[in-house]
């Protein structure tokens, strides 16, 4: 990702040396992904050192954390978009099992072709996202509450419909080879297909957020909703689109897992909700909206994957991973706040 020249240092560093140094420091501080990257390196070195004897650094050890990160990462970036836009989506915890059951019931139970199952699944996910977005934009109820409501509604509906249609809460699914390759196979080094989706989508989302006009709208929406509206940004449509994107990303993650493991269950994934939020915040996105970067979220997700999977490769107790994540999250939030203060009070060209 060498193309992130959006943030390249300013051209006006031609004043005094002190100014040049200050401005380059501040230019770095403007980039929250730098903090996330340094954090990831620290965590990686820590686990690389303590997990060396147990092959944390081997291809297999690497793919174990990258695979785990990818299922969170696919969802974390759109959720990060929402957070930058000043909203939150926790209904993804129910959209993932809903998507899993949709494709498994459509193709495994009713024997529809997989393409049809994908279409149905993504349509359902898009609809859930549309409902979230519409309620949030129409009622101005905080999205945390709206998506909390849909989280429970969708998970209840998934369970109810699964029992109604198939009389079971789990469903097997055997997919054709092309679908396996595309969504749920192990490739070289043991990387699963979702890893490539994650990396590919991260690049696309990076271009959208940092290099397209839409990205500017997302920042503006989170920075000041009213001003964005006055500037002619279609804020309601944009918000609904972002909720739909988050839901569909959750569906992609669910579909990949189902095709990989050949089965789906209705269990609501509460841990995933927290994991995505942690990944986004550790990645430097401000909880209050208006600021964040895709590389930051990417590194934040990777950090989370390293800690959660890496702990198994070290002599430490597995339960300590949650402690590390908790501490990390706190440090990240404090750093984000400091960053915001510095970014708004300091300037690169003090005279």
């Amino acid at each position: 990702m060498s193309s992130d020249s959006t943030y390249s240092t300013n051209d006006s560093t031609d004043n005094v040396t002190k100014g040049t140094m200050m401005s380059s420091i501040i230019a770095i501080l403007r980039r929250p992904e730098v903090g996330a990257f340094v954090g990831m390196l620290l965590v990686f070195s820590f686990f690389g050192y303590f997990g060396f004897d147990r092959n944390f650094l081997s291809p297999f050890g690497t793919s174990s954390w990258v695979n785990a990160a990818s299922t969170v990462g696919i969802i974390a970036i759109p959720v990060g978009f929402l957070m930058i836009a000043g909203e939150l989506d926790i209904s993804i915890g129910a959209v993932v099992p809903a998507a899993k059951m949709s494709i498994a019931i459509a193709c495994g139970h009713y024997g529809l072709p997989i393409l049809m199952g994908l279409l149905i699944t993504f349509a359902i996910a898009a609809f859930i996202g549309w409902v979230n977005g519409t309620i949030v934009t129409r009622t101005n109820v905080p999205s945390l509450i709206v998506t909390l409501a849909t989280l429970f509604a969708v998970s209840g509906l998934t369970l109810f419909l699964s029992l109604l249609l198939t009389d079971r809460t789990t469903q097997a699914l055997y997919s054709p080879d092309w679908a396996k390759e595309l969504f749920g196979a192990y490739h070289f080094w043991g990387f699963q297909s979702s890893v490539f989706w994650w990396v590919g989508l991260a690049i696309v989302f990076f271009l959208v957020l940092h290099h397209s006009p839409w990205g500017n709208w997302i920042f503006a929406l989170g920075g000041d909703k009213e001003s964005a509206r006055n500037a002619g940004v279609p804020i309601n449509r944009l918000k609904i689109a972002l909720f739909m994107l988050a839901s569909m990303a959750a569906a992609l993650s669910g579909v990949s897992e189902t095709i990989l493991s050949n089965s789906a269950t209705t269990t609501t994934n509460f841990a995933l909700i927290f994991n995505t939020i942690i990944a986004v915040v550790v990645g430097g996105v401000l909880l209050t909206g208006g600021f964040g970067t895709v590389p930051g979220i990417f590194f934040g997700t990777a950090t989370l994957g390293i800690v959660q999977q890496g702990i198994g490769y070290t002599p430490f107790d597995r339960n300590l991973s949650s402690l590390i994540i908790g501490v990390m999250l706190l440090i990240a939030v404090l750093m984000n706040n400091t960053f915001r203060r510095m970014a708004t009070t300091m300037s690169t060209t003090k005279r």
Partner: protein, 264 residues
């Protein structure tokens, strides 16, 4: 003066929300190169009037005319496209976005083609800095700088420069000086004069009579949703205007009220 066609004119405009009448029989005119000061106490209907002018609300009765032609704004974007720009108290700026990005929100310059159109950061920064400097903000020369690091006056100037650049003909300034110190306010007033000099019609909303008198050509006082007074520069003194804004009560009455309350 009266033979010129005003850029924007309101004729007998009413606006109510359900049973509540907010604006009543508003008639106003603003010409190019002229500053119309809209004075009024809190709750007098100033913000409703601005929002009606900016296309947020559609009047229940009456007409809006632009260049003598009756029009109806469908939405804020429509009003914006016709050259009506509103700048709010904090300037409609986004503190955590760069100057270049702030300047072009909603109308980003792009390079490339089709679905691969990309935001053109270099051009955005160059234009925004040039426009800012033309409005006298020479301290700022880095388009990547976050707007949160600018002063309140500079942020106002950025918004005004932005509106002017995008072809605004009518500039609506909503309490631009309310949150500013004396020096910063003077700065904004200078920029109002500059906009006027460039031939824009400026509608300047304030409750600070001093600021209004410093730049205004034409004044309207709004009380409980109606125009209570409409006069030109030099026709009324500062004391008279202050009294009008207080709802007809004279400042002297107010003072005696306050002192008698204390006496109780």
């Amino acid at each position: 003066m009266s033979d010129r066609i005003p850029i924007l004119e309101l004729r007998n405009v009413d606006k109510s929300f359900g049973p509540i009448d907010v604006l009543h029989d508003i008639t106003l005119k603003v010409h190019e190169g002229e500053v119309l000061c809209l004075l009024g106490d809190n709750g007098a209907g100033k913000s409703t009037l601005i929002k009606t002018l900016a296309g947020v609300y559609i009047p229940n009765a009456g007409q809006i005319l632009m260049d003598g032609e009756p029009i109806q704004f469908r939405n804020p974007r429509d009003a914006h496209n016709r050259g009506i720009a509103t700048v709010h108290q904090f300037g409609g700026t986004y503190p955590l976005m760069s100057i270049g990005r702030n300047f072009f929100v909603g109308v980003e310059p792009t390079k490339g083609w089709g679905p691969f159109k990309m935001y053109d950061r270099r051009r955005a920064n160059k234009i925004s800095i040039r426009e800012l400097q033309e409005f006298g903000i020479t301290r700022v020369d880095d388009g990547d700088r976050l707007v949160g690091g600018l002063s309140g006056g500079e942020r106002q100037s950025l918004s005004i420069a932005r509106a002017v650049y995008f072809g605004a003909r009518v500039l609506i300034l909503d309490e631009p000086t309310a949150a500013l110190g004396v020096k910063q306010a003077a700065h904004v007033l200078r920029i109002v004069n500059e906009a006027k000099r460039r031939g824009l019609a400026v509608i300047f909303i304030t409750h600070q009579v001093m600021h209004a008198l410093a730049v205004g050509d034409h004044f309207a006082v709004l009380i409980r949703g109606s125009i209570a007074a409409d006069f030109r520069k030099g026709e009324k003194s500062r004391e008279e205007i202050t009294d009008l804004m207080a709802g007809g009560e004279s400042m002297a009455d107010l003072e005696s009220n306050i002192t008698s309350d204390i006496a109780i």
